[in-house]
Symmetry: C2
Subunit: 139 residues, 2 copies
DNA sequence: CAATATGGTTGAGGTTGTCAAGTATTGACG
DNA sequence: CGTCAATACTTGACAACCTCAACCATATTG
């Protein structure tokens, strides 16, 4: 309907796409034995520089104690290691292990897999969509 | 390579937008005292025809017992009522109460609110984005 | 009527999330 | 130097979400 502005309608559709993509994604992550949050945290970990627990808590807008639990489970599976910073031994950074890196990359691929509705667009539409979204995050 | 696949890159950006929108959305739903899943279920309820618990379980691709719990909490807050079907008394449909309807509409609005990155696009880009996404779900 | 299938609930157990309280370490001030 | 406050993380309690297995009530079928 013309009553809704285009940004609102566009996001509304994008949201529906993301929601119907949800189960497929959870399934794919399940095959890696990852919950959504575990995958999300892995995805945030960089190999270059360590990410502290409070960095993660801030990124995820959640309580620090929540990160403790998630890190516990990732560490128990040897996907991640806690490294105390030599400079300040209070702060602990999460570092990907070798298998953690591999798992992270596979999780990333699963998350980036577009739903069929997007795959079904013409190449021109796909490129136009990509360009508009690039502009959206550049702005 | 995969990174040059426009569909993949487009979805990747859309995913990031949705993720950074997440906390804002959870906050907005929190003001309605709704969790994400409660809002999601409310959103699926139609005023026209009743939705059975198994319909919901199928839509959400989750176990039926999960719906029982969510329905319990929604019903405890009088947002929803369980109505047994007269035709088959095993099946129970969730029906929105008056305040449930109101809450559902507010939740819908919160979920449809686009992130700033989309709002910041030019009107032409917003319309183009909407049109492409319309085609995506039409196809 | 007996056997079976179906829709929903219950209970156990795990993950995510918050809050309040606690520990360890750091930094600042007297 | 010693005390005190702030910081980074952990712990424990509790709630929501989620799955699985077992269960109850109702339908359906032979």
């Amino acid at each position: 309907m013309a009553s809704t502005d285009p940004a609102r309608e566009a996001w509304s559709i994008a949201f529906e796409l993301a929601m119907s993509n949800r189960s497929r994604l959870l399934m794919a992550l399940g095959e890696l034995d990852l919950t959504f949050m575990q995958a999300h945290v892995l995805r945030l970990l960089d190999t270059e520089q360590p990410t502290t627990m409070s960095d993660l808590a801030e990124s995820l807008h959640c309580d620090a104690s929540n990160i403790t639990g998630i890190a516990d489970r990732l560490e128990a599976r040897a996907l991640v290691e806690r490294k105390s910073a030599p400079r300040d031994r209070r702060v602990k950074a999460l570092v990907l292990t070798k298998s953690g890196l591999e798992t992270r990359d596979r999780a990333r691929e699963a998350m980036r897999e577009p739903p069929d509705a997007i795959r079904g667009l013409s190449k021109a539409d796909q490129r136009a969509l990509r360009d508009i979204l690039r502009r959206a995050i550049a702005g």
